[in-house]
């Protein structure tokens, strides 16, 4: 839990997570996207893996990384512990700055 929030606090690590959210990528592909060296990305990947936010798969000489959404469940539980479903209403008020699907109906609305 502590390691998860600390891993997310770094903007670069959140960018990396966005990259491997949908498709798995190698460390080199990730490093090519940013203006940092490959070892720096490798260390970030180590922190994210330690926090359980992604998984690693070896493929020959490459290592492919993919996001692990279960790692964020702790953060979700942290939010619920404080404010319960009060947030579920507030998040929609904050979504006019996002471009999500209009999310017309909810299961309990």
């Amino acid at each position: 839990m502590d390691a998860t929030l600390r891993a997310l606090s770094d903007p670069r690590r959140r960018q990396i997570l966005r990259l491997v959210a949908d498709s798995e990528r190698s460390a080199g592909e990730i490093a090519a996207q940013f203006d940092v060296t490959r070892p720096a990305v490798s260390q970030h990947l180590g922190v994210l893996k330690e926090a359980g936010l992604l998984v690693e798969r070896r493929d020959g000489t490459r290592r492919l990384y993919r996001a692990r959404p279960e790692g964020l469940a702790e953060v979700q539980a942290f939010l619920d512990e404080f404010w319960g479903d009060r947030l579920e209403r507030l998040k929609y008020a904050a979504e006019h700055e996002q471009r999500r699907r209009d999310a017309r109906n909810r299961k309990r609305s």
Copy 2:
């Protein structure tokens, strides 16, 4: 958004947030709970206020702080941006490590 996650990444600041989640407290009351000096708490309160996670109210010579749940809406939106409602199922799977409603049913075994 960036400041919010950074503010939450510190364990002490999360403890402070827990204290002012339900009732508002003064800086001295908060500092008395932990083994840190009052200026340290004051700086943490400044970070939390900067991130929009709490509000300040002056009462004579004291300053009372209270949590501001709207500040967490950004974090909730961040989670949704990545995994949508996939997390809403996973968070229940991860709750067996918490002491929430025991939820002892296995519909799939």
